[in-house]
Symmetry: none
């Protein structure tokens, strides 16, 4: 185990052909709060296309480590996984992106490498056999081939989701109480009956349907006030 409790996640692009994909991967990482990018033996790099596609992830791109051998990127790591689209002859343990996030969460303080292969041919068998596990992104069997930077985005998203709770609902007004809601409904029923929209004695389905409409969206206090205003408007108009 590493002394640090900080997990280091490295995204390793193995022999990418297109510099745009390197930049796009850097941006994808940045949006998911990852920063350690390694690029093994890129065909064209540095390149203006990479910088352009990196957008606000330019710092990740600038700090990227370029190496000539995969061993230089993975050597000091504790756990290595590689993305793979197809099942190999000798199957490896295969993780979904979400299962990967679980695994990473269970390895605090480790340096973890995630390998992404070439645009046209992915990772070689030798590279895949270097891995502790493989990752497969569930995809359309007819065409499961994600662009490499897209695959980086999906994996990084799953990792970010892995240790982030879903955001609580943000709302600008307090929710109305049931009492406040029922008072509104009672007044609405009365005014709609008095003014002839609902028929006294046989309100029929309309009253129930209006209630269903307003109950299934939890009203906030301001909405209750606006609807009271509307009821007053109907009341006054029909005098």
């Amino acid at each position: 185990m590493n002394q640090s409790t900080e997990t280091e996640i490295r995204i390793v692009l193995v022999e990418p052909s297109h510099p745009g994909n390197i930049g796009a991967a850097a941006r994808a990482m940045k949006t998911m709060a990852l920063e350690h990018l390694y690029v093994v033996n890129p065909k064209r790099y540095p390149d203006p296309q990479a910088l352009w596609r990196a957008a606000g992830g330019d710092d990740v791109l600038e700090n990227a480590v370029v190496c000539t051998e995969l061993a230089d990127a993975v050597g000091d790591c504790h756990w290595v996984v590689g993305t793979s689209a197809r099942q190999r002859r000798i199957p490896w343990p295969v993780l979904t992106p979400e299962a990967l996030a679980e695994e990473v969460g269970g390895r605090p303080g480790q340096r973890i490498c995630i390998l992404f292969g070439r645009e046209d041919s992915g990772l070689t068998n030798e590279e895949l056999q270097l891995c502790n596990a493989h990752i497969e992104i569930p995809a359309n069997p007819v065409y499961p081939v994600l662009n490499v930077a897209m695959a980086v985005q999906v994996i990084c998203y799953a990792l970010y989701r892995g240790h982030t709770d879903s955001p609580p609902l943000v709302w600008d007004r307090p929710p109305a109480t049931i009492d406040a809601f029922e008072a509104l409904m009672a007044r609405l029923d009365r005014v709609l009956t008095d003014t002839g929209f609902l028929h006294a004695g046989q309100p029929g389905q309309a009253a129930t349907r209006i209630r269903r409409l307003l109950t299934r969206t939890q009203l906030d206090e301001t909405e209750v006030a606006i609807l009271h205003g509307l009821v007053t408007h109907i009341e006054k108009s029909s005098r």
Copy 2:
């Protein structure tokens, strides 16, 4: 409920600047088994960049519907959601990609639109207020700005991964289309202004809050008819 049990999911790119992003979105959709791409008022399209980035998603790109108005893409849909990076002044219900997948799973047979905004400025407030809910991709608060095609990939992935089997919504009436809903809203606005409830020229927050209330609960056809009846009631009462 709709006769068909097949849910149709439309990915709608609103005024994309870069043709590469249109192609990349088509590929992202294809990898996640989605096929209905709409492009509203693209700056450069068709374009060889789009085709190149589409790769094996070229059929999705070729079948894409290009329109000049957003209304043409969403009008016959039943439920519309839009991606948004920031919280608005009047907040809308916000879904994570996974919660979106749950919601979609609960709407069999509906036509569902997912809107993605411009590269530089996203969706306008007006476009966001057309939506029944907003989607926010959980991301690095320091830089949460995913490339638009990357956002398409993440959302489509979440949809493909699907939902724990939440029971489908059972309802007694077909959902209203967006066109029917917008016609109701336009008439409601007009009558509430003519009769003095909303002030012409400065409708203020009340109009937006009423819209938010009625968008976040997807209306069915009977509810739209009842609300039309109520608007007629207000109109006649104030004569």
